[in-house]
Subunit: 425 residues, 2 copies
């Protein structure tokens, strides 16, 4: 342990926005793979997908009813002879002549000669083999035109498209049973600290349970990636190096703990000795000040605070967009929305502050934010009760009741194009 002045004074930490830009600037997707459509939800297309057919494949009925020549209905009511009965999946057997119609079901092909569909509710049963059309219909009424939704050969999904349920629907429509996607990074999680007790160790009331391994793993799982849990490295340089060496074989290594001023003395030289360049090691935010990002030949390394709340807040700002970028996503950041404060919040200016809040909606549909509980960075229960992080800009001395501020949703999958940190210095 040494008391050296840190190489960068605290005031020289990056803004959250600059730290995010540093990370995103160094990250690119790490290769592609072909996977079955059933496994593709949440992944990102690495190559464009084209339509392999026209859709609809032919003019088809948009409603149950009767395919008609619209001219025959001009003087409705009109009684027309039923010459065919076309179900979805059938092909029409006859072309319509003047005065004729065909019973037709939604999704069935419109017969030659017909140029409109009359809905069943606009008809009345006629004499045997005929139907009474009650209203005139214009040309093209209730017909879906061939290729109006997609034309064979057109690009329907560009590379870079996130695979949502609707995208899966499009891929199934063009019969892409296998898709090329960006591959998932291999992620390892390491906790460090002599005071930590692992989940499966017997309870020792004097030790601190290692919750970070599990909370970080769950944040990674929420992105569809199953991380490796390396365990707990004690504050011993040789043991730490062995763990770090193992962790650097992954694409991404998350280390929690060991980032306060003194303990940095262990982690930073151990990472340097293993070829890791640290790009920053302090960010002007609360909680979460001591957070570092580095790169080796192949791995991206994040040193997160040992404090469970701080490590989660830092994950949301830095690791979340990094893992999104690695998997080819374009929308890297958690969704942010405006919310009205139900009470005042004090803040010390100088660092952007993330306040754990619970969200409700008022009668106008406007979100309201209230503190989720004590904001001590040790209070992991407040984190568990929070829906969002309220962003207090770095230059703010606090916000008053009734003011509107931005909140960052903590829910998995709520993403947007930008970080929404407008007040971040």
């Amino acid at each position: 342990m040494s008391h050296d002045t840190p190489t960068h004074p605290a005031s020289a930490g990056l803004s959250v926005r600059d730290a995010q830009a540093c990370i995103v600037g160094k990250i690119h997707p790490i290769g592609t793979e072909n996977i079955a459509l059933e496994k593709a939800l949440g992944r990102v297309l690495a190559s464009e997908v084209r339509a392999n057919r026209d859709l609809p494949p032919y003019d088809l009925a948009a409603m149950d009813g009767y395919a008609v020549r619209s001219a025959d209905t001009a003087a409705a009511p009109a009684t027309l002879e039923i010459v065919d009965d076309i179900q979805a999946g059938d092909m029409p057997r006859v072309a319509l002549q003047p005065g004729q119609c065909a019973r037709i079901m939604t999704g069935a092909p419109v017969p030659a000669g017909a140029d409109a569909v009359v809905r069943v509710e606009d008809t009345r049963p006629g004499p045997d083999g005929a139907v009474e059309i009650r209203l005139p219909v214009p040309t093209a009424a209730d017909i879906r035109r061939r290729a109006e939704n997609m034309s064979q050969g057109e690009i329907v999904l560009p590379a870079g498209t996130e695979i949502t349920p609707a995208t899966i629907g499009v891929l199934a429509t063009v019969k892409q049973a296998v898709v090329e996607v960006y591959r998932k990074p291999r992620v390892a999680i390491l906790s460090s600290g002599n005071e930590l007790e692992a989940l499966h160790e017997p309870l020792d009331p004097d030790r601190i349970p290692d919750s970070n391994t599990h909370a970080l793993a769950a944040q990674v799982q929420a992105l569809g990636i199953e991380p490796a849990r390396l365990g707990i490295a004690r504050d011993d340089p040789a043991e730490l190096s062995r763990f770090l060496e193992q962790g650097l074989e992954y694409d991404v290594l998350l280390i929690s703990g060991g980032t306060s001023v003194g303990v940095h003395d262990h982690v930073r030289p151990a990472l340097a000795a293993l070829g890791v360049t640290l790009h920053f090691w302090r960010v002007e935010m609360r909680p979460g000040h001591p957070v570092a990002f580095g790169t080796s030949d192949r791995a991206f390394v994040f040193c997160l605070p040992g404090n469970p709340v701080s490590s989660m807040v830092c994950f949301a700002q830095f690791v979340f967009p990094a893992l999104r970028a690695l998997t080819g996503h374009r929308r890297l950041f958690r969704r942010v929305l405006p919310a009205r404060l139900t009470h005042g919040i004090k803040s010390r200016p100088g660092r952007v502050e993330f306040v754990r809040v619970a969200l409700t909606r008022n009668a106008d549909g406007v979100h309201e934010a209230a503190s989720a509980g004590p904001q001590s960075s040790g209070d992991v229960l407040t984190m568990a009760r929070a829906d969002a992080l309220l962003i207090v800009p770095a230059d703010s001395r606090g916000l008053a009741a009734g003011e509107t501020a931005l909140v960052q949703l903590l829910e998995a999958g709520a993403c947007q194009d930008d970080a929404g940190l407008e007040g971040d210095a």
Copy 2:
């Protein structure tokens, strides 16, 4: 095929809100199971969880620095003798006497006699074995008190808590390696229609690809449930009955197609013959009018439109909250937020309308909504490009550019307590 007047006229369909209330009123979680913490993300606790320890287990340092008797710093600068060096994970060896201090790391226990921590940056190296404290510190400064975050025996997570990453952190903190959660429903998906071509069948340009099985499956997967894909039932009563019988062995059966007026003639009697009571079969919404909900002894049955867009919109309104309720969630509905329209949208009054929109955020952080493309219910590409469904109230003739309306997020996991359908008749 018959042309009977439907038993309920179209105007008698339920509102979306009433249909949701009907569903939610009949659904309850279907049993519990014990699972490993690593598999628990997204599940809901079926029993309360109590703290098995005090946290912190002792008074501990919140910062790196020196544990002191605050009275000794009243006349700072003051030089104190260093009598111990306490790392996180160590226990203090000596109690402080007046004029003494102990070097201490973040997370390490504060020694007896000490009542405050002085941050390392507020000190200067002193003569051998001593340190100069530059500023006076008040009692309790930078100390986290024993049990301030949780006390042994207290309920930290009530039954019904959704297991988020932060909840996983709390569960790891109280060493719950196994948790009791509501079990997942078994879900089956069935498509119906002679015109449908399965994903693995050879391409026939005259047929319609079955995209619903896959898009619905992905919507179910997004809720953490791997559904069974039963395949395609042709419009043959015996075949349909065999498929339905198989589907009714699951907890939830989703049938797409076969819900338009005519085809109902097959599905409704087949379901009735198998002991299914239909509670509604029409909802006043666009797209998605023909949607039915039924129950048998053990299964919940949803008949969704065959149209791919309509079936997804209906899933979001009805099946999504049903599956959330079955898994014990309290927040059943997709998150809704206000967004400003970038252009006018026309609507026919009478039914609530869901318009596929893309979202952006303006400089004030306000969401703006623009149409995601053609709104024909056949246009699955517009669904793939949409971030949200804009809700046009049933009594509206349209919305003007610049007006604010509510949009329902389509992103997985973006949930809230209520459906937000304020304009739903």
